[in-house]
């Protein structure tokens, strides 16, 4: 409950939203869907800037990328045909798994989801492997790669206005592998994408949730796989490495030991899924 809330603004442009945020910084916050903000006990917030009239509710397909406006409801991502067909459907799947409740997904927004990302954020994890960028408006507009944004240094007092997801290069396949709680909450999840060239893994991007603060890339496994054939032997090695490099947290959903024990099989599921997609498309050779 925002029991001290006195003011509510609905600006119609990004500059007016930024002006409001700058003028009253300290006791004023951005309001997107409100699924996090309104339910949390918060006595400090006195004013809200509702950003849902800024024209940031869109999904646009460009030649090399897909742009999602910050106030696009998560459920629109689940239902969107362009996103359903992109990157093996992992964007829609990750959006669906942000909440078991369609009522929450109808309200929560892409921007809100990314700004509030935590260790278990599957959507964030997916954006990491797809090498998405976020565009921030605050004074000047600038773009941040997801792994920079990951440190949460970049947002400052600014406004996340858009997520830009590059389309996958040719012969690239993506997959996610979650383990869900009984309330369908992903308690640990791996995401990955593999680009094949002449039957070899040319590039791999892997990330996993359950790490401190936000999901992390698994750079060492990625480097190990690059230039190798993706097969039973390299996947077994990747699993072994996952056990060594993954440093998970314990929380109310799962212990550190449990996460460490299941991480290798999630990496295996992701890599085999990419491999099977490639074989289905006969895409392992150029």
């Amino acid at each position: 409950m925002l029991s001290n809330l006195k003011g509510y603004y609905r600006p119609q442009s990004i500059p007016s939203a930024l002006a409001l945020l700058e003028k009253n910084s300290g006791s004023i916050l951005v309001l997107a869907g409100g699924t996090k903000l309104i339910l949390n006990e918060n006595n400090i917030v006195k004013e809200l800037v509702d950003i849902t009239s800024l024209g940031l509710d869109y999904i646009k397909e460009g030649s090399g990328e897909i742009r999602i406006g910050a106030t696009t409801p998560i459920q629109q991502i689940v239902e969107n045909r362009i996103l359903g067909n992109a990157a093996g459907g992992i964007i829609s799947r990750a959006a669906h798994l942000t909440s078991h409740s369609i009522m929450v997904r109808n309200t929560s927004t892409v921007g809100g989801e990314l700004v509030t990302s935590g260790p278990l954020s599957l959507f964030y994890c997916t954006m990491l492997v797809l090498q998405a960028q976020v565009r921030i408006a605050g004074g000047e507009e600038f773009a941040l790669a997801m792994n920079v944004f990951l440190d949460k240094k970049g947002l400052g007092g600014g406004l996340l206005i858009e997520v830009v997801i590059p389309k996958l290069p040719a012969h690239s396949y993506a997959a996610v592998a979650p383990i869900l709680s009984d309330m369908d909450r992903p308690i640990i999840c791996a995401a990955g994408r593999v680009t094949f060239k002449k039957g070899l893994c040319q590039k791999a991007k892997l990330a996993i949730t359950g790490t401190p603060r936000v999901p992390q890339r698994l750079h060492r496994i990625e480097e190990f796989l690059e230039g190798k054939p993706l097969d039973g032997s390299s996947i077994a090695d990747a699993m072994e490495m996952a056990e060594a490099v993954y440093e998970p947290i314990s929380d109310s959903f799962a212990s550190e030991e449990y996460r460490k024990a299941v991480a290798p099989s999630l990496i295996k599921r992701v890599l085999y899924d990419c491999l099977e997609q490639a074989q289905d498309m006969s895409g392992t050779s150029e």
């Binding site: 609905r10 309001l31 309104i38 004013e47 078991h100 409740s101 009522m103 109808n106």
Partner: protein
């Protein structure tokens, strides 16, 4: 602050403090089907339809529905076409309390508005956000699917 909206197709204008939630506004106006439940966005008892989408009214400020169209269970309660759906849901939870039924009806109505012939998986997805406080599990949806068929006039 002044908020203009439509509730069950009636235009209304209200003066509310900025912190007023939609659930409190609706209940103050006598829409008792909108229930206080977990107050945490988990149970779906407070569900209403805003511009065609089922949403929680406990995690939404009245100010957020400025210019929007809100439908509560009262908006279609007296429509006899939906009686069989309500009965199917009552049978599904198999209990006398019925506290969760308006929320469930609302989420199915929003689904039917978007797709009059939803597959069972979508019905399940729509109901997943609703919780029966008497702990019934919503597994067998065959009666609900039959009721949806009836609404479509297939019977």
């Amino acid at each position: 602050m002044k908020v203009s909206l439509s509730i069950n197709q009636q235009d209304v204008q209200v003066e509310v403090p900025a912190y007023r939630t939609l659930i409190d506004l609706l209940r103050a106006k006598g829409f008792w089907s909108v229930k206080h439940g977990c107050e945490d966005g988990q149970c779906g008892s407070c569900s209403v339809i805003v511009d065609g989408r089922a949403v929680h009214s406990c995690s939404r400020l009245a100010a957020q529905v400025e210019g929007k169209s809100v439908t509560t269970y009262e908006g279609f309660r007296s429509d006899s076409r939906y009686t069989s759906l309500k009965e199917a849901l009552m049978n599904l939870v198999d209990l006398d309390c019925g506290y969760c039924i308006p929320g469930m009806m609302v989420s199915i109505m929003a689904l039917l508005e978007a797709n009059p012939e939803p597959p069972e998986e979508d019905v399940k997805d729509a109901l997943r956000g609703s919780r029966c406080f008497c702990k019934a599990t919503l597994n067998d949806l065959s009666n609900v699917m039959e009721a949806i068929d009836k609404i479509r006039g297939k019977w």
